[in-house]
């Protein structure tokens, strides 16, 4: 048994922390784990993707096209870009935020319309939320990543306490309070949408 989860977004949105929390959760489960991260140039506002795989034995740290069980998308266009990695009937959790890439800003390209509706029309399960508003509600717009981790937690079978202890090990103490709140808000939102 193996779980393949991708976290996709825009450099600077905090996908790295989200993948580290998820990696910590999988380690606590006693699984073999691999987490493939993005460092360097792409972190400067580029398209970023991290892969988290856990199970009995994991080889490639990268998830192959059509094999992701869940994609946690921090931004609509990035959800669109990485949809092809989702397995048939997989689940896409989407933050409804839109961040224009530079080709759209300069007018060289257009931001695709109705992304969420188009994904809804496939056989994939899709859960869109406005994570930015929820993060602001938690007290910090930067906590979008942990709101989304909360949402993800509500959709897995993993005990909530494991997620909470991962949060404690991965988040710097001075930001822990706001992130705990963000997690709770994301988790409750996910439960309410069930």
């Amino acid at each position: 048994m193996q779980s393949n989860i991708m976290i996709v977004g825009v450099g600077g949105q905090g996908t790295l922390l989200a993948s580290r929390i998820l990696g910590d959760v999988a380690t606590q489960l006693g699984c073999d784990v691999k987490v493939s991260e993005v460092h360097g140039m792409s972190q400067r506002g580029g398209s970023v993707v991290t892969y988290v795989k856990y199970g009995d034995k994991v080889y490639s740290p990268v998830i192959a096209e059509g094999e992701a069980d869940i994609i946690l998308a921090f931004e609509q266009l990035e959800a669109y870009r990485y949809l092809r990695y989702l397995k048939k009937g997989g689940m896409m959790l989407i933050n409804s935020q839109k961040i224009n890439p530079m080709p759209v800003i300069t007018g060289a390209a257009e931001y695709p319309q109705d992304i969420i509706d188009k994904i809804k029309n496939t056989s994939a399960e899709i859960i869109p939320i406005d994570a930015l508003s929820l993060a602001i509600e938690a007290g910090n717009a930067k906590a979008v990543n942990v709101v989304l981790i909360g949402l993800l937690a509500s959709r897995t079978e993993i005990d909530k306490g494991i997620w909470e202890s991962a949060l404690v090990s991965c988040v710097p103490p001075k930001f822990l309070e706001v992130n705990k709140k963000a997690f709770e808000i994301g988790y409750n939102k996910g439960m309410a949408l069930k």
């Binding site: 691999k34 460092h39 792409s42 740290p61 224009n100 080709p103 695709p112 992304i115 930015l132 717009a141």
Partner: protein, 578 residues
Amino acid sequence: MKRLMLGNEAVARGAYEAGVLVVSSYPGTPSTEITESIAKYDEIYSEWAPNEKVALEVAIGASFGGARAMSCMKHVGLNVASDPLYTASYTGVGGGLVVCVADDQGMHSSQNEQDSRLIAISAKVPMLEPSDSAECKDYVKKAFDLSEKYDTPILIRLSTRVSHSQSLVDECEREEKNLREYVKDTAKNVMMPAMAMKRHHYVEKRLEDMRTLAEDCEFNTVEKKSKKIGVISAGIAYQYAKEVFPDASFLKLGMINPLPSKLIKDFAAGVEKVYVIEELEPVIENHCKILGIEVSGKDILPNIGEFNVAQIRKAVFGEDAFSYKIGEEPPIRPPVMCAGCPHRGTFYVLKKLGLIVSGDIGCYTLGALAPLASMDTCVCMGASIGMAHGMEKARGSEFSKKVVSVIGDSTFLHSGITGLIDVVYNKGRGTVIILDNSITGMTGHQDNPATGFTIKGEPTKSVDLVKLCHAVGVDRVRVADPFDLEGFEKVVKEEISADEPSVIIAKRPCALLKTAFRGAALRINNNCKSCKICMKLGCPAISVVDGKVRIDPTQCTGCELCVRVCRFNAIGGDDDAK
């Protein structure tokens, strides 16, 4: 207890457990976190050197001094360090010496895609290649033993996916190693022709000994399964291949140089069909072919870019992966200069003046992309200054009045200073703009000789760039703020028209530094005429939403560069445009 670690952290852990005492490196993606992790161990002396050549020389000196020592760099960094590497291969070591080199298949953050295995072969230095974090730690530890046993530096080859993937690692205790006695040995450590010739004979004998080792060592392992397909692979490609060929027999090569011959022949003889799965150059494949073994490799898979499981499956079995499609390819999202980045002001002015910009390596290379699109060249670390000088010598000094070179503070100290000396010495008149953002930015904020802090955050002397430029003979040295667009433009115009070499230090800290200015987010007010001149700055916080220019408050740092270019006083104040 197993702990999740980046490959790079595991390399550092291996060095720590092996009793390493000295590590000197220069940052470079994807290798940077090795030395950052090393810096957390109090038992190890660590430093950022000005460049990879110096870093390796420090490590060689520490090794001659009897300590276990290490130097880490990216693939192109090894080019810079190759001069000491090739001769350290002759001298051999005192204490164990390991050089980690991280290749960047797929060029996630690099200017080329070279395969460092070829350098190991030509420098005649043994090379190990781990395929996950546990092996990173294990191989590095064993590399130090091999280095001392065979009197050779050892190369560890990493790749983006090994360096930047986390997997589980068992931590062990550190084994303290006493300094080996220092012995003066000119025949071994002074590489003049007569001594070096003898050492070359030693190097060839050592390679023979290592070849024997490669036939039967823990790094090269056979996994016997089906006799139909045998796969020979190494490093990250092995991990991909294991998913593609779950039932095949495998020969996993952890020692990449030298390669075994009998082991490969015996493995190939036991299977019907052999695939060699390796990224970039056909190093293992060519070795097989020399041995007369028929294999499939680069005939079905490219020597460009990194591999993925779906691609290998398609190449071998013709299977297409399932994928949802909802329309055309989405617009790309290239990396951009951050909101509040000081380089934005510099490139805005250079574009406005229509100058030819000889560029360099760093975050500011992004100045080549639209809409600023004001960098003309980028070849390697430090190249900007010499290249601008070359253009001047080719096309004359009038042409050169339209040319400037731009180079970051860390890159200038890495290898730009020698280019500047060349300009002065050979009577050039070029203008060099040093983008001094007080940090090494692109690789994630490492200190450098101009920041005033060591890798451990201790205060130290900092290079005074103004005095340094004066000292090499540049009389015209100016310091200017790239956010003062008018003032900066005036300085650039004055310096490019001067008939002597000049340096402009564009001074403003990286927007991501804690010490950087951060004001309240700006807003567009009712004066906006949608002229979109602010969008020519290429700021990711400014974009058009529903036909109106908007500033994203989560990204805006309040740098006010857009306020300065706006002609209608339409940015600032409280009135958000309706």
